[in-house]
């Protein structure tokens, strides 16, 4: 049975907070976003933790990507406030915020040229050593640096995009369904990279509609249904939401 049925009791705030969230990375206060065809998020109230992998799950159209894009200000709330480490995101310099909060998109976004050129887009002076280190962080061999970006497979291109996002040394990585257009092997590789990033202290916010992936990855879970939070808390307490049988 689908876990997204209507009428499920909402988890009250008090229960969310004790589920492993020690310090808050992003806080949403009565956040609403109205899109061209109606509301995308309605009165969202909740926090995302500063450690581990937080998986944001929900059906397509539930508002997952919108919630993620609020975190690096690619989207602005119509109502309410988004806070990053306590500061209202609306008051932060967006360019500075986006270098602290990196993002990998649903589809790989190469910008032309070689892999090295793509990494250089993220920063002015990237020397050979830094470039090699950047691709290695994304599990690509240094030999990839001189390959044309458009010749990479979907999975390789997505890992290059991850490497590029890491060049700015972000504190947080937003991953918007990063494995939806890659093969199973690359999916496993990207999941592994997300886990090891989280272990190295970079908080990862990972959006997916794949419940099995959510079970594999999540330390914390945020469940969105029709633009509202249905559950937010530790993965241990999210069992019924991640159960797709």
């Amino acid at each position: 049975m689908s876990p997204w049925v209507e009428g499920r009791a909402r988890v009250v705030d008090g229960e969310c907070d004790n589920a492993g969230i020690d310090d808050t990375l992003f806080a949403f206060e009565h956040v609403g976003v109205i899109g061209p065809r109606g509301p995308l998020l309605r009165d969202v109230d909740g926090q995302l933790p500063a450690h581990g992998v937080t998986v944001i799950v929900g059906r397509s159209g539930a508002g997952k990507s919108t919630l993620l894009r609020l975190c690096n200000r690619l989207e602005a709330p119509t109502t309410g406030t988004v806070r990053f480490r306590g500061d209202d995101v609306a008051g932060l310099d967006p360019m500075h915020l986006r270098r602290r909060v990196g993002m990998v998109f649903q589809r790989p976004t190469p910008v032309g040229g070689t892999v090295r050129d793509n990494l250089a887009v993220a920063t002015g002076g990237l020397d050979g050593k830094a470039a090699a280190a950047a691709v290695e962080r994304a599990d690509l061999a240094p030999g990839f640096l001189d390959r044309p970006a458009h010749e990479l497979s979907g999975g390789e291109a997505q890992r290059m995009c991850l490497a590029r996002a890491l060049v700015t040394a972000p504190e947080v990585l937003l991953m918007d369904e990063p494995t939806s257009s890659v093969d199973p092997e690359s999916t496993r590789a990207l999941e592994g990279l997300a886990r090891s990033l989280a272990e190295s202290g970079v908080a990862v916010l990972w959006v997916t509609h794949d419940l099995a992936q959510a079970r594999r990855l999540a330390d914390h879970v945020l469940v969105l249904v029709d633009g509202a939070i249905e559950y937010a808390g530790g993965s241990a307490g999210a069992g019924e939401f991640l159960d797709d049988r």
Partner: protein, 260 residues
Amino acid sequence: MTADIGWRGLAISLVLVGVTVALSRWRRLGLERSVVWAATRALVQLLAVGVVLHVVLDAGHSLAWAWLWVAAMLVVAAAVVRWRAPEVPDVFSLSLAAFTLAAVLSLGVLFGLGVFELEARALIPLAGIMVGNSMAATILVARRVFEELRDKRDEVEARLALGYTSTDAARPYVRAALRTALTPQIETTKVVGLVVLPGTMTGLILAGVEPLDAVRVQAAVMFLLLGAVTTTTAVVAVGVSRRLFTPDHRLVRMERAAED
């Protein structure tokens, strides 16, 4: 004067419209009505313009009328751009500003530095040729910038997400659109005289002016056009790309226009 063909001459030239209609009917192109309508419109529009020009160019009238004419041309050109690129936000005011700036710059150089004597007889045709030629490039660049930023949203947002300002994130697309819009004008300038004799020169020679005199005027007009087209397209390209971002460097949502 050589160029005075009289009403009889004009009537005879209509034979060529007849040829077009006959060809269309023969090959069943179905374009007869369209051809007749186009020819009629051209004739009526040109006659109306001729009557007004006759009044405006009359030495007895103030130059203010000529300037008023130029202002009207700028507004009409901006309206045409708006009509041809309706999906682009604020394109009327942007192109009006661009045409005005190009007019001030190019006419300023031509008249301010004494290339031409400032009189209605020079002002109106030069402004007309400037606006007329800039219009197509302006429409092209406005649509191109809009479509590039809409269709390459992923790439643009990838740059924004890396901490680019909206200006920097849009730069490659604005540059590509400007190069596309300017190339035809540059190519035309390169082959001028080799392939076609341009309109200004043809008109002057038909009107009995010495070819070398006509060539000098034509060259000045080509340079006017190059400057004007570059100015208008640059203003519109930068203006459109700014309209498509918010002050906090987000790319605005762009809907695809309904099919025509």
